[in-house]
């Protein structure tokens, strides 16, 4: 579906525009439900004594793809019905744990008017401001699912 509104919004964008930030505080229940939805039985996501004593982590480890999902949400919410995500490229650099406050955000990095596409640099940061999951999302305006 093509929307004139999406194309019009693209014309207003500038490189350097910031996407709204969002804080995430994943607790034990959310982490358990997420891994249950995947059928992921990895103990480091639910067995705290094992995670601390055997694996040596300071707490239950957030699943990497959950942070990847938050990167998508950052862009998806910002796009609304004006465009869609074509692709993402991201990595999990630093482990994050239950109890941490993580923040998603992004910046418009490039604009391609010929096809109404934009590159968005996205990230998840921890409370120390360290980027734990950087990525790049390519979006197209005027096309919506």
């Amino acid at each position: 579906m093509k929307t004139a509104q999406g194309a019009a919004r693209f014309d207003l964008l500038q490189v350097g525009d910031r996407l709204p930030e969002r804080d995430f505080e994943c607790d034990n229940v959310q982490l358990m439900l997420y891994n249950a939805a995947l059928w992921n039985g990895h103990r480091i996501h639910f067995d705290e004594p094992y995670t601390r004593e055997v694996e040596g982590y300071p707490g239950l480890v957030l699943a990497g793809p959950l942070l990847g999902d938050w990167l998508h949400q950052c862009v998806d919410e910002w796009l609304g019905e004006d465009g869609r995500i074509l692709s993402i490229d991201y990595s999990n650099r630093v482990a994050s744990y239950v109890g941490e406050t993580l923040t998603s955000g992004g910046t418009v990095a490039a604009l391609r008017p010929t096809n109404s596409e934009a590159d968005i640099d996205v990230h998840i940061k921890n409370a120390e401001g360290e980027v734990v999951a950087p990525g790049k999302v390519v979006v197209r305006f005027g096309e919506y699912w």
């Binding site: 059928w39 959950l66 995500i85 990595s91």
Partner: protein
Amino acid sequence: MSLLTPELLGNIGRKSEPRRELVTRRDIRKYAVATGSRQDKYLQGDQAPPMFHVPLFWDVVELDQLSPDGVSIDTLLPKFPLEKAMAGGLKIEYHKPIYPGDWLTATRTLSAIYEKQGRSGPLIFYEVIMDVVDDDGALVIREKTTRILR
């Protein structure tokens, strides 16, 4: 001297058996709630959010096929001479939307194995491409996972 023997490199191109799965409204809703989605179309299960292929195609194996730490063994992968996994990356292309009632089929291919010199020794990289197609054979999602072993 390379860690990558001709035998190991011979695994490049290896493919998994295709897996066909049904997208349900309930599974979409559970995933949307668990990820903290704030969008109605996902929370109601009317449409799958990005990354829904991750829960849809996570390996479902029997309990005795899980390692003691609860991980299922990826049978697509050969035994590598380095085993400690480091952070990896994911690249995903979205070609078609996903709705409840869709049947989707995923096939995974071990597409690359290569070596690089890291600061504290050699690193092995491998890539797995998962293609997700609909029942007409049209590409819905292509995902490339890159993992690093040290």
